[in-house]
């Protein structure tokens, strides 16, 4: 800290006359005695953009995320906002799960609403498109549901932070479990079915590549792709059944996952083959509680029941149940972490200035519902785990969860690869 010399003190004192001194002292006294909430109201509003779908294929997952963001923001605003003096104003836009809509709405809230950060999106295709805009406008993009590895890899932007496990981490995690199952069950042939867009292609590619290394005897028989939001998967399922693979890997998320599961059951898919490694998050576990086949192996991104000892997770569960009368989902859990993570970044920076917050988040260690987690400096990926488990009826919950005795929590460090890999082919940005 710089010291103020006596000469400087003299200068300062000389510049303040008696009248000015009295006025200043009185003003300082008033400020000191003013209740905290009054001083907070004087702070600049923090405009927070939220780009998530309430229509289209992603609406089912995004719904609980939007609710969690609102709950967390209300909680922080109850304390006066960020730093106790910057009330948060949410600017929500529906992306319709479409990249063109996401970029249009993203541009709109940046230019018209002057948002400092955007939480979202659902679709990785939307997130990648939005990155071009947020990077150029120097606005923070806080991703969680959209989790293509490209977001922190080839399309990296220093303004983007990823709060969920990315596709590479997830496919590497599931492939380890599947390789064990394939070895145990002597599986030789498999089919992949995926949503035909950035995320689906990415996670399928990662899975196939890694399984070829861990289980070279297991051969990919066929890959099938359907458009996002396809409501009739009958022809795909009957085709898979006619090929009789040993197992099927679904690169399917959101409501399409439910469609695949329910139509698959009605067509007898599970009588012919095994469905392994699909995304069975707490959204599916709650919504399909009556129909989800028990024993199915799935993966999850933010399973609240894996962190019941974490004080922050306990807080999330309580807040969400109080507000919604339900348990939080993976999507709400991740987006609680996003909002409180942003708050911690702002606290570290001591200001809401976007550049300062961006720099404060770089390599930052955050308290999250999933424990204490750190952003990797080379790609802004939070070191969060992926959860793999068997669908299981737990008497403590009104819906099935993963069997906690057998659940595998794959830590980020085991699956996220090296920084060199993350940086390979990275887009050059100004």
């Amino acid at each position: 800290m710089k010291k103020i010399t006596d000469q400087k003190w003299d200068g300062i004192l000389k510049s303040i006359d008696r009248r000015r001194f009295l006025i200043s002292s009185a003003a300082a006294g008033v400020l000191t005695l003013t209740p905290r909430f009054v001083s907070a109201a004087a702070g600049e509003t923090y405009n927070l953009g939220v780009l998530l779908p309430s229509t289209g294929a992603g609406a089912n997952w995004a719904d609980s995320a939007i609710k969690a963001i609102n709950i967390a923001v209300a909680d922080i605003n109850g304390r006066g906002g960020f730093l106790g003096k910057h009330p948060i104003k949410i600017h929500y836009r529906d992306t319709h799960t479409k990249p063109d809509v996401a970029t249009r709405e993203g541009r709109s809230i940046i230019l018209d609403e002057k948002v400092r950060a955007i939480v979202g999106t659902y679709s990785s295709a939307c997130a990648l498109a939005l990155q071009e805009i947020t990077h150029e406008a120097k606005v923070l993009q806080l991703a969680s549901i959209s989790n293509s590895a490209k977001i922190v890899g080839a399309n990296y932007s220093s303004y983007t932070y990823e709060f969920g496990p990315n596709t590479k981490m997830m496919s590497n995690a599931i492939v380890k479990a599947v390789a064990k199952l394939a070895h145990r069950n002597k599986w030789k042939r498999y089919i992949t079915i995926g949503q035909d867009y950035e995320w689906g292609r990415n996670i399928q590619r990662g899975f196939v590549k890694e399984l070829a290394k861990l289980g070279p005897d297991v051969k990919l028989q066929r890959e099938l792709w359907f458009k996002l939001g396809e409501s009739d998967l009958g022809s795909y399922i009957s085709g898979i059944m006619s090929l009789k693979p040993d197992f099927v890997f679904p690169a399917v998320a959101g409501k399409d996952s439910r469609t695949l599961m329910e139509q698959g059951q009605a067509m007898g898919l599970l009588k012919v083959t095994s469905l392994v490694g699909g995304q069975i998050t707490t959204v599916e576990l709650q919504q399909q509680k009556d129909t989800l086949p028990r024993g199915l192996v799935g993966m999850s991104r933010c399973a609240f029941f894996a962190h019941l000892d974490e004080p922050l997770m306990q807080k999330y569960i309580k807040m969400y149940r109080d507000a919604q009368g339900q348990y939080p989902t993976d999507m709400s859990c991740m987006n609680f972490d996003v909002v409180y993570g942003l708050e911690q970044g702002i606290q570290k920076a001591g200001t809401i200035d976007t550049e300062a917050v961006k720099n404060a988040l770089k390599g930052a260690t955050l308290k999250t519902g999933r424990g204490t987690r750190t952003f990797r400096k080379c790609d802004n990926q939070l070191n969060v785990p992926t959860y793999i488990g068997e669908v299981f009826d737990d008497p403590d919950y009104p819906f099935p969860i993963y069997n906690r005795d057998k659940m595998i929590v794959v830590e980020a460090e085991d699956v996220w690869g090296t920084c060199e890999e993350a940086e390979a082919g990275r887009k050059k940005r100004s």
Partner: protein
């Protein structure tokens, strides 16, 4: 890949089911255009609304997972009744004013209905997907597992086709409707109120969409935005079959459904392209569709 019976039979069943779903929605679209010359872009949105109404009625009986298939019948009948009334009301208040307008204006009006009804659905039912899970076990047929509900969809599709055909050709009201297709002025000159004919036809068309929404609900989930995807496929069916031709719509729906079912497996990346190649070929070679007449080009 071996194209044996193991492959062909299940794909055919799935394709026929898909085709019947398309027919059930496109039949009303084709009927309304054939008789009234109104291109109803909101037709699949009425289908969606019918599905949501059916869903709500089903929830009155208890949880929608594992519900009895028989309960789908009264729930669908309620949806049809509500949709027919909505159809009457919309025809009287809005569509009636569009008869002498150009097609782009009709499309704009009906597209506005898509947005308005979509928002109404959002307000009443929220954004969550809705689905009904019957829990019917698959049936084993010729050594293959088949979704039992496929037979219901195919059966309803054939019944609706036969019913519409009989209605248009064997009843006096149907004959008047067909006459109105060719000469509105002549029908009016005979002292028949053409506006009543139009209102009834629009109501029937929208009611068919309601029927489709209810019947299909146990097979496919309801989601906001699903109507936009479906209406495009329905336009494809109607273009291929011929606007206003029920038999054309039926044949084209089966053709599109079955072709798509095989194409997604034989040429996964080009399945949609195959469908639109058929449309292009029809538009070039036979612009009035497989069963349409040149009068309607």
């Amino acid at each position: 890949m071996e194209l044996g019976f193991d492959f062909i039979f299940p794909q055919l069943m799935a394709g026929m089911s898909r085709g019947m779903l398309l027919f059930l929605v496109a039949a009303g679209l084709s009927l309304i255009f054939g008789v009234m010359n109104i291109l109803n872009f909101a037709h699949a949105t009425f289908w969606l609304l019918g599905g949501y109404i059916t869903y709500s009625v089903l929830t009155l009986f208890g949880p929608t997972a594992g519900i009895s298939p028989l309960l789908v019948i009264p729930a669908t009948l309620v949806a049809i009744a509500v949709l027919v009334l909505i159809g009457f009301a919309i025809e009287r208040t809005l569509v009636q004013k569009m008869y002498d307008r150009d097609v782009p204006e009709q499309l704009l009006l009906t597209f506005a209905l898509v947005l308005i009804i979509g928002d109404v659905i959002k307000l009443i039912w929220g954004v969550e997907d809705r689905s009904v899970f019957l829990g019917l076990p698959p049936v084993e047929l010729f050594g293959q597992f088949v979704n039992l509900y496929y037979f219901v969809i195919i059966g309803v599709g054939i019944t609706v086709f036969a019913g519409l055909h009989l209605f248009l050709h064997k009843t006096s009201f149907g004959r008047i409707v067909r006459a109105a297709v060719h000469s509105r002025e002549m029908v009016e000159a005979l002292g028949i109120r053409i506006s009543t004919i139009y209102m009834v036809v629009f109501g029937i068309g929208v009611g068919l969409a309601g029927l489709a929404g209810g019947v299909v609900l146990p097979l496919t989930p309801l989601a906001l935005g699903a109507d936009i995807d479906l209406i495009i496929q329905c336009f494809v069916v109607v273009v291929v079959g011929g606007f206003g031709s029920i038999i054309g719509t039926f044949v084209a729906a089966l053709l599109i459904g079955v072709t798509y079912s095989f194409a997604i497996f034989l040429w996964p990346d080009g399945a949609l392209a195959v469908i639109f190649l058929i449309v292009i070929a029809i538009l070039i070679v036979r612009p009035w569709g497989l069963f349409g007449t040149e009068l309607r080009t």
